[in-house]
Amino acid sequence: HLTTSLPLPSERDHLRPRIDMIVFMIDIKSKCSLKNVEASLAHVDASFFLGKVCFLVTGVGRVNYCSVDMNAIWKLGEAYCSPVLFCELELEGVRVATAQRLLRMLQICAGHIPGVSALSFGTLMRSSADD
């Protein structure tokens, strides 16, 4: 499901399946994108932040056009205990690799991988990032 902001429109509530993972996409070229994500985070139930939320920062290939402060993004990831991924959508290779990563995470969050839970995977990602 793609949406531009949260909360989701209520008219489709009855049609929506269970939500296993939320990926917040932040365009590094647009401050407005970060603000939008911060505003939408307030509408997410706390239980999602146990490994079912991830931040995806796009547009990182063009260093000249960065409008968003990286520190702000790191802080966001720490505050919400969620991993931060980076990608450049315009490069096909990176795009495909990121999609595969997200798909893997989704499989874990949906419980399709036996022995690995969303929470344990989330802590795994965070502790490796802290190194």
Binding site: H1, L2, T3, T4, P9, E11, R12, S30
Partner: protein
Amino acid sequence: MDETVAEYIRRTVLKIPRDEIKMILQKWGFLSEAQLETINFHQIKDNISQDVVQLCEENSADIKQAAVLDIIYNNIYPNKRIWSVYQMNKTGEETEFFDLTDFKKKFKRLLRSALKNVTINFREYEDNAIWIRIAWGTPYTKPNQYKTSYVVYHSQTPYVFISASVLRSNLPLLCQALVVASNYQDIREMELRSHSLNSLKDIVFKRYSQNFQTYCPRPLTERNVAPETVDLRIIQENRNEKERIQRLNREVFGDGPQPKIEFAQYKLETMFKSDPKMDVLDKKEPFRCLVKFSSPHLLESLKSLAPAGMADAPLSPLLTCIPQKARNYFKIREKKGFLPGSFVSP
């Protein structure tokens, strides 16, 4: 042939992209087809221009022919200059028959009586446009052919498009000459400027696709569904919102391409409104501020703001009124019930 003329022709030819040189020389018509055949248009431009000057030498070109070549160049590449729009008006309903010879005579006479050293050339085009090229001099120096002003006058309309050059001091004289020659009473500068002459014409002649208010209680189902492959596994949660934005955008901007302007400038002379406790200029005196929007194609980028999620739809009428009001330089003063109509035309 005068050396300055030769140099001027050489430099004009150098400005033209190599693939277009032959076509423009043919339009010029000063060199015969036989002469043009002798030029190798595949060599480097430096050599082409030398060849052209050589042939002009044989034909004894003077400044008049050189000026015509310059007009042709500027007519084909008008976007290299900035054009301003002026509107003439007169009281009384009589639409007099426009006499071209009379216009030219009066124009030249007025300019020459005020300033002895000017080069004036005219060229008429099929769309009723009269192109006037003026090279300015001073009472003591010959006209500088590199400091030229251009005027495009559509005789069936009260509009004049002027690309003045650095010498803006000659502008009042130029305007005076235009008014007298065309039998109008006065002329005023519209606050409309752009590099794209055709877009300026589109705006003042209302040739762009305008939005018409249509009463549509239910939005029409999209006739042009995006041709991209629709993956049924992707569900757009905000489809209604997206459609609303598209509809509003279409209402405001219309369906066709927008006229091309590069700037919009807003000069604010409004009161700064702040928390009274902060005591920062609160309603004491106007807060002078200049807001300038620039883009290679401003109106198209404004049109794509809301669909791209960068701005809320509908956009501020200050931005969307640009083609209708035919201006892109605004002065905004404080007024009760703040409306775009509160602008003061300078």
